[in-house]
Symmetry: C3
Subunit: 132 residues, 3 copies
């Protein structure tokens, strides 16, 4: 069995937002107890990230990305090349195992959506739950 | 139900090629309307990337990778360490949701295979479609 | 059908360890011949990496990560920000296709778990096998 829904939210430019609770809501509605949860971030300037939700760490992560693809860098692609590069590096999909109705995340693992774009954007993460 | 096929194509060294149409062909043949599409790039010097297919952006991405793992860098692993490092960072697998017979990609999201190797190579991406 | 197990092992700080054989053991126990193998690394300072298991290459990869997130860098997040950043970049999940009871990895593709943390840690990779 497969249950599908999506999580939509406004995310400010360059921000990373915790959506663990929203994904847990989808899981609860699915009534699926064991299986897999597949996440896909729609858009070429965003990513789904699984890591610790600490504002200081997220700022450290932004600075690391800034080294690889600086916001004010020189690019051939107009306007937001750095946003696309960050998205490509961080990836668009993640799959998390589910047991007893809960995602098997580690203590410090939270599901987050990153909007790497130069503008505030409504972001969508498609959640697909597959049952055992 | 699961349908499996693979996409094979010659990719020049350091090039990233759009395979969205080829994956759509597999999806069409599968006759699956709703579910998930799992992609896996075979080989330790290539990746499946989901992003915008703009030659200028792909050149920007190549330059960003060049900063992390330069082609002429000094490595312990002979010959193509930079190819392996780029592949490890960009990843080998992606999972895309399917609805009404279409992949739910964003407007600018295309599926691409990157051949980071120092030689032209035949590259293979295994496509597995899981139905609802 | 879905079969689930997990692979646990002690991994030294900053080390990357090959777990292909352990994942193959889970696959064998599952008796599943065709399908998908989903891997998830539990913890915000580790990753599942698919690449060549060559100690020299893994040292090259460590040095590339050191450029992006240096161990002795200045961070806002206390103690192990570099470990989290490396984990976020390398990712927490991978999905590998299975055919005739074997994972369809390329010749040089091995499944490895990276412990990016500053301490030796017991690491867990959850293995979920989905049948055709």
């Amino acid at each position: 069995m497969m249950y599908k829904d999506s999580v939509k939210l406004k995310v400010k430019s360059q921000k990373i937002v915790n959506i663990t609770g929203m994904v847990e809501d989808v899981l609860r509605k699915s009534k699926i107890k064991d299986g897999l949860c597949s996440l896909f971030s729609v858009g070429a300037t965003c990513s789904v990230i699984i890591n610790e939700d600490d504002p200081m760490l997220l700022e450290d992560l932004r600075k690391a990305m800034e080294k690889i693809a600086p916001e004010k860098g020189i690019y051939q692609h107009a306007e937001n090349a750095h946003s696309h590069i960050r998205s490509a590096i961080m990836g668009s999909s993640q799959t998390i195992p589910i047991k007893d109705g809960k995602m098997q995340l580690g203590t410090w693992q939270e599901i987050m959506v990153a909007n790497f774009d130069t503008k505030d954007r409504e972001r969508e993460v498609i959640v697909t739950i597959i049952s055992d």
